[in-house]
């Protein structure tokens, strides 16, 4: 059998790890090994894993710091909720509706990502970060103004900028249903999200992101990150590949948002604020920029940690913060880095290489 390259091996191990984790958790869940609050964490964890992996595409692979990732999640969540709710009578099968909702969520997030990308990707560094932050807030405010209802005539949408209108102004017919109530957000959503759907979404995300990285497109994206001038000089269309990474990242966040939105019966747009963007960014940075499996592990650990610390009551966020600081310091400490490298070379992996060099 042909020897796999290091990158391909890492990819396969990531898939394998996710599948094994899914099987273990599923078995635990079926045997009643998880209590109610633990089961409730499963879908959000899946969503945040997809968020972290997709943000890693922008921050780690493309190298542009985006602080508005929750905005795309928000677009995906609410377009997904509208899709699933308005099709409730047409398509009885919940998994099919969920899938459609995620596709529609991904589509709208991609469109918004493209529109935002046009001005944003002209910038670099801090400026880009600040503008993405602003766009994230704009999306949040716009969705807060939205009144949406559905009846037998179809969708009714009011864009309530003045704030003077209420759900009654939608003029729904008998049997109609309000889906989004402005600042209150989506209420009365049928929760059709499932852990299996989350697992499938993670796998699809991994396939898209990992295969993209190891293609000519991925190399071009990383070339732009490493040296923009050199990338241009070898004929790479910088704008095109920045946009490709940004829009792909937004679309995946949209799909994650749709799944997230359909996991709660009440969801307000304020959930997807700056804090959420930063939370996902913390997952990415802690897991390692450009490191996909690192993002997954960091998400799981950091998402479970505050819940696991509930016993410490009011000290839990303090402990969380301390853990963050300690992990950051130890992973980036040069002394510990060299120590880890030495450890790695001691345990075989580089033996072949040394033999070849000698």
């Amino acid at each position: 059998m042909k020897k796999l390259s290091k990158g391909a091996r890492t990819d396969l191990l990531t898939y394998a790890g996710v599948i094994i984790a899914f099987i273990i958790v599923s078995v635990l869940k079926a045997n009643g090994g998880l209590n109610r609050s633990q089961t409730g964490l499963l879908v959000p964890i899946c969503c945040y894993i997809v968020m972290a992996v997709s943000l890693n595409l922008t921050v780690g692979i493309l190298g542009d710091l985006s602080l508005g990732h929750a905005g795309f999640m928000s677009v995906g969540a609410f377009s997904g909720i509208i899709t699933a709710m308005s099709l409730a009578n047409v398509i009885p099968s919940a998994p099919v509706r969920l899938m459609l909702a995620m596709i529609v969520g991904a589509f709208f997030a991609a469109v918004i990502g493209f529109l935002i990308g046009i001005p944003v990707l002209r910038l670099t560094g801090d400026y880009l970060a600040i503008v993405t932050l602003a766009f994230g807030e704009i999306i949040k405010e716009l969705i807060t103004c939205l009144l949406v209802g559905v009846d037998s005539e179809g969708l009714h949408i009011i864009f309530n900028v003045s704030g003077s209108k209420t759900a009654n102004d939608l003029n729904l017919l008998e049997g109609g249903k309000v889906i989004i109530k402005g600042a209150q957000g989506a209420t009365g959503t049928k929760t059709i999200a499932s852990f299996t759907a989350g697992f499938i979404l993670i796998m699809i995300t991994l396939v898209i992101v990992q295969n993209l990285i190891r293609s000519r497109q991925g190399r071009a994206i990383m070339a732009v990150r490493d040296n923009r001038i050199a990338a241009e000089s070898v004929g790479i269309n910088v704008t095109k590949y920045k946009m490709m990474a940004f829009v792909t990242s937004a679309a995946l966040a949209g799909a994650a948002g749709a799944l997230f939105g359909l996991n709660y019966s009440n969801l307000a747009a304020t959930k997807f604020d700056f804090n959420t963007s930063i939370l996902v960014l913390v997952f990415v940075v802690l897991g390692g920029l450009g490191n996909i499996w690192g993002s997954i592990i960091a998400t799981v650990v950091l998402y479970i940690l505050p819940e696991a610390l509930r016993g410490f009551a009011s000290y839990r966020m303090l402990i969380y913060a301390i853990v963050l600081i300690v992990v950051m310091l130890t992973t980036n400490n040069p002394v510990l880095k060299t120590w880890r490298e030495e450890l790695r070379s001691k345990f075989g992996k580089n033996k072949n290489k040394e033999a070849k060099d000698a």
């Binding site: 295969n211 990383m222 000089s233 004929g235």
Partner: protein, 304 residues
Amino acid sequence: MTEGSLKNMNPPGTWEAGTPPTIKVKKDPLVPVTRTSYLPERDADKTPILECIDLGITFGGLKAVDNFNVAIGRTEIAGLIGPNGAGKTTIFNLLTKVYQPTHGTILLDGKDIATMSTAQVNRAGIARTFQNIRLFHNQTVLDNVLIGLHNEMDYGMGSAILRLPGYWRAERIAKERAMEYLSLFHLDQHAMDLAGSLPYGAQRRLEIARALATNPSLLLLDEPAAGMNPSETAELMENIVKIRDTFHIAVLLIEHDMSLVMNICEGIVVLNFGRIICKGTPDEIRSNPAVIEAYLGRKGAKKL
């Protein structure tokens, strides 16, 4: 590379091993000819690969380059020399559209490149290296050349994500070709090393390999011998001539090492304060009083 005969510098299996299977190599050897007109004789009846007409750029009132008129033959090795700050690298940046010319025309193979971007100019046929090496340091040597081969591959994003047969085929061919480019520069054994970990001379060679991978018809080398020792420079000289003879492309190089310039360039342009002060063969340049003055100053020139 230690000293020795020139043949020993190139292990068998690289340049001498005949036509490599996938890189396009022209078979008929190029006979070096003396220059009688402004292009080498063998290129005289063909469109020049590069023609600059009254090219110039102004930075806020300062004429960095002015009235730059040059034609380069399709298989010529040309040199661009001049004292520091004469505007040599600025000209490279104009040719690759990193800077927009304030006036003048650049014709690449007879076509105006005025509306093209840097990336489009590369696809049209100009590849370059940089004075301060610009490699993708955190990526492997092989990946650096694969990035150079980017536009030689044609599969789309869908094929990449779904790993369709087109992806595997294009990737396999590209890897083979990348390894051939690397072996031309004796870098094949370092293919999996990080580009940033290579020694300085090897980084310069890798940059040339990456530029060649974009399949150019004109190669711009910005001080390729900077920081190299004499034996490395001698090898580089051999390589530049071989690149021209193997791929039948034109090379325009900026260099301060006069032995290199005078030995391999067929035509030389001397620049001072953004203006051409002399054009000609190495012999003509050597004896030109304006050139001597530019390099040694008026007093120094009088002493000679």
